[in-house]
């Protein structure tokens, strides 16, 4: 079971129309990217967390744990932006010198780095609002509404379905191998992986062949058609989402003056 999937299917916003949630999350994300003010970013993170905790009823500890996932990339990336290397003397806040090179943080690089940090965190909070309230089936439904080509929609449906067919088997084999020191050294691990892959590969082919047979016996002509549940828009939700985005927008406008 994937970590995010444990929460998304039982979140309390699920009965609402997925388009509302996905569009709200994406619009807010774009606003986070365009507006360059850390206070706005804080506001976005704050509102997303409040919505997730109080409306979707997802524990704050879960959100915190998820926020830590991209941290490795974020810290390394931001530090790389912050540190400027030069043989000349830049407008350094502080620096050190090795091999006649100055390595340090300048005023403007610190600004860019800090801005990137807050933008990323606020965009990630929007992403989590979407992924923690919208299961993959609903995201696929939204993509369908947005006129994404049928072949991609079908592939996504199939891949999503097969992920859960494989992931259990894959992890069971993996743990069984680990329990037998199968991943203790690099060389052993490569071999174990080949065995895992080979077995799964055979099973995968078998499954896809079986699926094709069962589909063909039911009149498969190349298209998989799925009935979507009927969703209805809720006025209250749309109004509150629009109000929240307007609040963020006017806060940004007010702060930029």
């Amino acid at each position: 079971m994937l970590y995010i999937e444990q929460f998304v299917y039982s979140n309390k916003l699920r009965h609402t129309h997925p388009l509302e949630r996905v569009i709200f999350a994406l619009v807010t994300m774009i606003m986070a990217l365009i507006i360059k003010d850390w206070q706005v970013h804080l506001l976005i993170i704050f509102s997303m967390v409040i919505l997730l905790v109080y409306k979707a009823k997802i524990k704050a500890s879960v959100i915190l744990k998820l926020m830590l996932i991209p941290l490795g990339f974020l810290i390394i990336g931001v530090l790389t932006i912050a540190f400027q290397i030069s043989s000349a003397d830049l407008n350094y806040l502080f620096y050190f010198n090795i091999f006649n090179l100055n390595i340090g943080i300048t005023v403007s690089s610190l600004q860019t780095a800090f801005n990137t940090l807050t933008v990323s965190l606020s965009a990630v909070s929007c992403l989590y609002f979407m992924t923690l309230t919208t299961p993959m089936v609903e995201i696929i439904y939204v993509l369908q509404k947005l006129k994404v080509p049928d072949s991609i929609i079908e592939l996504m449906t199939l891949i999503y379905r097969f992920i859960f067919v494989f992931i259990n088997t894959a992890f069971n084999i993996y743990y069984a191998q680990q329990a037998r020191y199968g991943h203790s050294t690099f060389k052993k691990s490569l071999n174990s992986f080949a065995i895992l892959f080979g077995n799964l590969w055979g099973k995968a082919f078998f499954k896809s062949k079986n699926l094709l047979q069962s589909l063909e016996s039911r009149g498969f002509e190349g298209n998989i058609k799925v009935l979507n549940p009927e969703y209805s828009f809720s006025k209250n939700n749309i109004i509150s989402f629009v109000l929240l985005d307007l609040l963020i927008f006017f806060t940004a406008l007010f702060l930029s003056r």
Partner: protein, 254 residues
């Protein structure tokens, strides 16, 4: 004295921050400024559209392919959730791009890569929606085409199949990391030296995790490929419908 101290703190910090397990280098959500995010999305779009058109045609002729591609995409996703120890002692997640490119060809793999990247962003919070275009470009386009090209070129040059597979997977992986570094550098040029200086910075920092990852991915792909040509040659022949007139694998491993 003061400088030395700072340097050691910086060095320690880097060591400390290098994550235990390295994912392939996907740019995280929101990291790219919106102009660059849009730019990379626009660059990737025509290639993915070309891929969709090309596989749609094949899928129509052969409905079995649709299921096979679905299985392959799920496979790539599941693989990327597992860890292999890397040559440096930390561990890394394989991407499967090299293997996919060799088995399915670059057009199909660019579409699959895009879907897998989207799934990784949504289900694993790895990568992002706004940075999807940039990640598709570096991994699913540059990665697959380089891997495929390297494989073809090495085969033509008469290099043995094992080494050709290694070179393809490792090189595809390396070029993904180089491309990502340049994407980051273009968005965040250095104050002195501009894009190139910044690219050197990103390349150096991420080399710590990405070069070992490329090597382990190369080795892993070879071992898997040997296993496949030994035990499931039948399936490999089925796969040839993707690329008519080619025989996969090599008699070296028969």
């Amino acid at each position: 004295m003061f400088n030395k101290k700072l340097y050691s703190i910086w060095a320690l910090l880097i060591l400390f921050l290098v994550p235990e397990s390295a994912f392939a280098m996907h740019i995280m959500e929101g990291f790219l400024p919106y102009k660059w995010a849009a730019f990379w999305a626009l660059i990737s779009l025509p290639v993915v559209v070309y891929g969709v058109v090309s596989i749609s045609k094949k899928m129509k002729e052969n409905p079995e392919l649709k299921l096979l591609l679905g299985v392959a995409g799920a496979f790539a996703f599941v693989l990327s959730a597992l860890k292999i120890p890397s040559v440096t002692g930390s561990s890394s997640h394989p991407t499967g791009v090299g293997l996919g490119a060799i088995l399915f060809g670059p057009a199909a793999m660019s579409v699959l890569g895009m879907i897998v990247l989207l799934f990784q962003a949504i289900l694993l919070a790895h990568g992002g929606i706004t940075t999807l275009g940039a990640n598709v470009f570096s991994m699913a386009i540059v990665g697959t085409f380089v891997a495929y090209g390297t494989y073809k070129f090495a085969k033509k040059a008469g290099i043995s199949n094992g080494i050709a597979v290694f070179l393809a997977a490792a090189f595809g992986n390396l070029m993904t990391y180089v491309t990502t570094s340049f994407q980051l550098a273009l968005a965040f040029p250095a104050e002195v030296g501009g894009v190139m200086a910044s690219a050197v910075k990103f390349l150096t920092i991420f080399a710590v995790t990405q070069i070992p990852l490329a090597i382990s991915e190369g080795l892993l792909t070879v071992v898997i490929f040997n296993f496949l040509s030994k035990y499931s040659s039948q399936e490999l022949i089925t796969l040839n419908i993707f690329k008519k007139g080619e025989v996969l694998g090599d008699d070296n491993h028969a």
